[in-house]
Symmetry: C2
Subunit: 314 residues, 2 copies
């Protein structure tokens, strides 16, 4: 029997046409997810902004054997019932690495060269010479040692930035959590690129911002939940750190009345760091390739450790 692939989407994913005859593709919105889940063999969480899976997951009842999310993080879909089940969860590991790394480099360089101020002064037709900073020779601490964190560290190193990587478990080239405070205390750039898990929830709090240098710049390209946003706002207001850029937020889209929009020293971007022209295509191609392996009974790539909340290993 042709397996049923249930797609939770807003816009239909590209490339699934390749599965014609090999899969029965059923689209759903969040409202109809719960009623359609039991009949599905596979769930493709294409709308990675939705938290609907957590509420709709059918406990002990009939359920998909495989859930794939078109995202690096899985925090939006994990729930105890899914974690306890024998359903395999996979993610889009690999698609976002280089784009996110370049995005972080763009922020670091733009801030070092005072580009946001240059654009402001241009609007005022004001010629005001300023001194930038050299990026080569500065220090970064990248928190998160998955493919995105590692690509970010590689790119910063290529720019001459001395970069330390922090992960859950110390290993060659990766510091453990015990080194975190020491490393962020001397970093010019602190980059959050970790998955959101029980351990990482609000790990960037008043204590951590207090440990950083007054000249430090903080970047979050991981998940909004990694940061205590109120603590960050206070740290910026009190000049504990020099500035920050958030691409992810506790609530997305960031509400129009959020004070974060106008916080001095904060750059707000709409969860776009990993998204480059062609990315939806890449995500579609990746799912099709995984589906072909699954249908052939072969092991799936990028299997998430449902307890830890990410794909473990190097």
């Amino acid at each position: 029997m042709t397996p049923t692939v249930l797609v939770l989407d807003a816009d239909p994913p590209p490339r699934l046409g390749r599965l014609t005859g090999r899969a029965r593709i059923v689209h759903t919105d969040a409202a109809h997810l719960a009623e359609r889940l039991p009949a599905a063999d596979v769930l493709l969480v294409w709308d990675f902004t939705s938290h609907a899976v957590r509420e709709a997951w059918p406990g002990d009842g009939p359920r998909p054997r495989w859930v794939h999310t078109a995202s690096a993080g899985v925090d939006h879909l994990m729930c105890p019932e899914l974690a306890a089940s024998d359903t395999v969860v996979t993610n889009a590991r690999g698609v976002f690495d280089q784009p996110v790394a370049e995005y972080v480099a763009a922020l670091v360089l733009a801030v070092a060269k005072d580009l946001p101020r240059t654009l402001e002064l241009q609007r005022e037709r004001t010629w005001r010479h300023r001194e930038g900073r050299r990026v080569a020779g500065t220090r970064a601490c990248v928190v998160g040692s998955g493919p995105i964190g590692r690509a970010t560290a590689r790119t910063l190193k290529a720019l001459g930035v001395t970069t330390a990587l922090v992960g859950r478990v110390p290993r060659t080239g990766v510091h453990g959590p015990a080194d975190l405070d020491r490393l962020i205390a001397r970093a010019d750039w602190v980059v959050a690129a970790a998955p959101l898990t029980g351990q990482t929830y609000r790990m960037f709090d008043a204590h951590r911002f207090g440990v950083m240098q007054p000249s430090a710049f903080f970047v979050n390209v991981g998940r909004g939940g990694l940061v205590d946003e109120e603590a960050l706002a206070r740290a910026l207001a009190r000049r504990w750190i020099a500035g920050a850029a958030l691409d992810v937020f506790a609530a997305e889209p960031l509400p129009a009345d959020s004070p974060l929009w106008e916080l001095p020293g904060l750059i707000v971007s709409p969860h776009m760091s990993g998204d480059t022209a062609g990315w939806r295509d890449e995500l579609g191609v990746q799912f099709v390739a995984s589906y072909e392996r699954w249908a052939a009974g072969r092991p799936l790539p990028n299997v998430v450790d449902k307890t830890r909340g990410y794909v473990p290993g190097h």
Copy 2:
């Protein structure tokens, strides 16, 4: 007798105190330059925005034996009489290479990630997801094969950008002028980092902007005179190219009523690409080191070929 060092400055240079007892330091503004030049052994052009040397140079009369400019370019001081004289001209080669390279990388990445638009949308408190571009795999053409051009090419290559370098004379790793149109025709990023000479004056004209791709982004970190600004304005208005960033202009400071300030797609910055915290210090240190060699009768570094208008050689 203690040699006289005449310093053309607006703000006094740092580090010259090291020459106490070994040089008689005399400061001058542009208005008094002509009357003081004949008595000077050395002229330090610290105010590199001034064109006063060209008018004040004392033809056949007594004149400094050495002129050093605290800049990479020498276009602001060269004149036929200085070129014909036996006075040695040196420049600040080496101080600006890495800063300018990083500045170009900052622009390339910021544009690829649509950062200027992100900052605009933030002011409007608008969450609007967009797709950036991957920088790795794009193509750049850097025009100018001196230390600044080479450092820029190295930095772009480190980001995965396929980068061609164009110089006056083809050699290993450097294309000659004959390849220029072919290379800019397929470049995503065209970077002007050449000295201003008779050959390079307005080399970026309507023809060159017409050859570039509609998606191309043009950056000028060389000299304003490299670009026909009216042709660039038309090229942007007609969408011949996607955008541009100018750090240097035919007239500096750019007048408040210049149409360039508000040209859609153009980023205007105040001739700051090479200037990072500590740069004035570095320039002072560099002059002091050169002075010590000169006073000892040893050969000077960074001697400019006065006919070509730059320091030749690799």
